[in-house]
């Protein structure tokens, strides 16, 4: 395998991805990602100098519209999906340390 993914890299990617992997998953992910990157390295066979990166096939632009409310109050329906709710608000775990 040309791409060797070490523990530090997988730890860092886990932080970016907000995923906590078990030891077993971590070993599998290292191997998986190495293999995928080897495969993706195939793109290096192509000379892309001078080619503009194409993020969209059509020239898309931001679409602006007036900031006008078109739907009604849906807070009840929205909060109906909340894992935890109190007084019309989402309850979340402690965010800041200390008192």
């Amino acid at each position: 395998m040309a791409n060797f993914i070490d523990d530090r890299t997988i730890e860092y990617v886990g932080i970016l991805a907000k995923l906590e992997l078990s030891d077993e998953e971590r070993e599998a992910a290292k191997k998986d990602m190495g293999r995928m990157l080897d495969y993706i390295d195939k793109l290096n066979e192509l000379d892309t100098s001078g080619v503009e990166p194409m993020s969209h096939v059509f020239p898309v632009q931001n679409v602006f519209r007036e900031d006008v409310v078109t739907n009604g109050d849906e807070s009840e329906k929205t909060l109906g999906n909340a894992p935890e709710e109190k007084d019309n608000m989402f309850v979340v775990p402690r965010t800041f340390e200390g008192n």
Binding site: T9, I10, Y12, V13, G14, L16, A17, K18, L19, E20, L21, E25, A29, D32, M33, R35, M36, L37, Y39, I40, D41, K42, L43, N44, E45, L46, T48, V51, E52, P53, M54, S55, H56, V57, F58, V60, N62, V63, R65, N71, E74, K77, T78, G80, N81, A82, P83, E84, F90, V92, P93, R94, T95, E97
Partner: protein, 488 residues
């Protein structure tokens, strides 16, 4: 005038045939829904096409629609027709899981624009179909709610990621279905299940309310029994939507006008690169026989070199994984969906929720996407892929300077057996080789049944058009379908 048709006769009808029968008073929207719900009751224990069935709600809506048809308020070709919707499209008041544990309890407060368009036309949602988790997979085996079986042979996969939708059409558990296609997820399951499936030009159908996977590649489209239904459904769901900034305003969405049996002078190119190594010989023979039939009816068919085909898959997986890692950040256990218990603080909760809520294939792609977007690797991987994407698009532009349509297989093989695909992801990804570049280039593509292999598994013919040229595809596909049916 009611009840002239028995239920099995009803279930064989195409969507537009059913609508005609309803308008002629031979049956009703309610009878059609009852027939479909009975069929689901009978068959879905084995096939598992659906994650959620709306049941009584669907019957009540069918009754409302029937009244409007009788009052002359609903006159379109899909009025009264039961439809199945892939479970990654939001449906107001109806569970929408993306076949993931992380959305096991998510009930949307709104419906996807494509679903609303169908409902405005009088189609009635039966329920939500099974899929690969977050549309990541080619077999519908990564679903958190069990595998879907192929109704043509239950020991085989239905394909994916819209496997539940394709299987539901094949099993007559609906009259048509909506799917979504990011790298072949409508066309490949349509091919495996022997139904028609189309991915429209990027931007033709609003993505509002479609849970995003690879936003620059995702497109909603129909899975149907016939090309005629495909055109009618696409005509209904195509819309310019201000709520989707990538939605394209186009005036030529009268797709049913292209249902013309005539390919005289149609220039069709077959990429030699699509017929080479890895292609099953029975699939090749069926696809080339279809090309000959079109040629015999006046099309001008020739082989050509498309080039860059082998680079489409690594390009796709880089871009799709990058977009997925960004799109799936929203699943954090705060506002909806699954939340892990006993997490110490906010960040612990995010991590635990996502680690417990996502399945292995989704985690694999989020990890890869996070890596290729991370500083130090962004240029080498992500930007490189976007550059190759531009080259692939150019190769198609060159081809469409010479041809009206590109013809080839949908997939290298027919449907694999259950349980054979997930162990080797790269091998599974290679199965997408003929479909994936269509998404990278934003093109329309259609899959039409073109026979079966010696085991009786369906084979799909793929036609690819230039952007906004759905009508040429529909006309060619319709001509092929009619000629094949008549045996000439």
């Amino acid at each position: 005038m009611r009840g002239k048709m028995d239920k099995s006769e009803l279930l064989h009808l195409s969507a537009v045939e059913l609508n005609r029968a309803i308008r002629e008073g031979k049956t009703t929207a309610v009878e059609a829904m009852e027939a479909v719900l009975e069929q689901i009751e009978k068959k879905d224990g084995q096939y598992n096409c659906y994650v959620t069935v709306a049941g009584d709600t669907a019957l009540a809506k069918a009754a409302e629609v029937q009244k409007k048809i009788e009052a002359g308020e609903l006159t379109g070709p899909l009025a009264g027709v039961p439809v199945a919707v892939k479970d990654n499209m939001c449906t107001e008041g109806l569970l929408t899981t993306c076949s993931s544990k992380i959305l096991e309890n998510f009930v949307p407060a709104f419906s996807a624009e494509a679903v609303l368009q169908l409902e405005r036309a009088g189609a009635v949602v039966i329920g939500k179909t099974n899929m690969d988790e977050f549309a990541m997979g080619s077999t519908t085996e990564t679903s958190a709610y069990g595998v879907t079986r192929n109704p043509r042979n239950p020991e085989h996969v239905p394909g994916g990621s819209s496997g539940g939708s394709a299987a539901a059409v094949a099993a007559e558990e609906c009259f048509f279905a909506l799917g979504s296609d990011t790298g072949g997820s409508i066309r490949q399951p349509a091919s495996y299940c022997g139904v028609v499936g189309m991915k429209p030009t990027y931007g033709t159908v609003s993505r509002y309310g479609l849970v995003a996977y690879g936003s620059s590649l995702d497109q909603i489209g129909p899975l149907t029994k016939t090309v005629e239904d495909c055109a009618a459904v696409l005509e209904t769901i195509a819309s310019h939507d201000k709520k989707d900034s990538t939605s394209v305003e186009r005036a030529d969405t009268d797709f049913t006008s292209a249902l013309v049996k005539d390919v005289k002078g149609m220039r069709i190119g077959i990429p030699r690169d699509y017929l080479g190594e890895g292609l099953d010989s029975e699939v090749r023979d069926a696809v080339l026989a279809a090309a000959e039939l079109l040629q015999a009816n006046g099309a001008v068919v020739e082989e050509f070199d498309l080039s860059l085909v082998e680079y489409a898959i690594p390009t796709y997986y880089t871009i799709a994984a990058a977009e997925a890692s960004s799109n799936l950040e929203r699943f954090d256990g705060i506002k909806y969906g699954y939340r892990a218990k006993d997490a110490a603080g906010l960040h612990q909760m995010y991590k635990k929720t996502r680690s417990q809520g996502f399945g292995p294939e989704v985690k694999r792609r989020i990890m890869l996407g996070s890596f290729v977007l991370s500083s130090g690797y962004y240029d080498a991987y992500y930007l490189k892929a976007l550059r190759v994407k531009a080259m692939i698009k150019k190769a198609f532009d060159d081809a469409f300077a010479k041809y009206d349509c590109i013809l080839g297989p949908v997939a290298p093989t027919t449907a694999p057996e259950l349980g054979r695909s997930l162990a080797d992801p790269i091998k599974m990804y290679l199965g997408d080789i003929y479909t994936i570049s269509v998404n990278l280039a934003g093109l329309p593509g259609i899959s039409v049944p073109c026979g079966a292999d010696s085991r009786g598994l369906p084979i799909g013919l793929q036609l690819i058009g230039d952007c906004f040229n759905e009508k040429k595809l529909i006309q060619t596909a319709y001509t092929y379908e009619q000629c094949a049916k008549e045996g000439n």
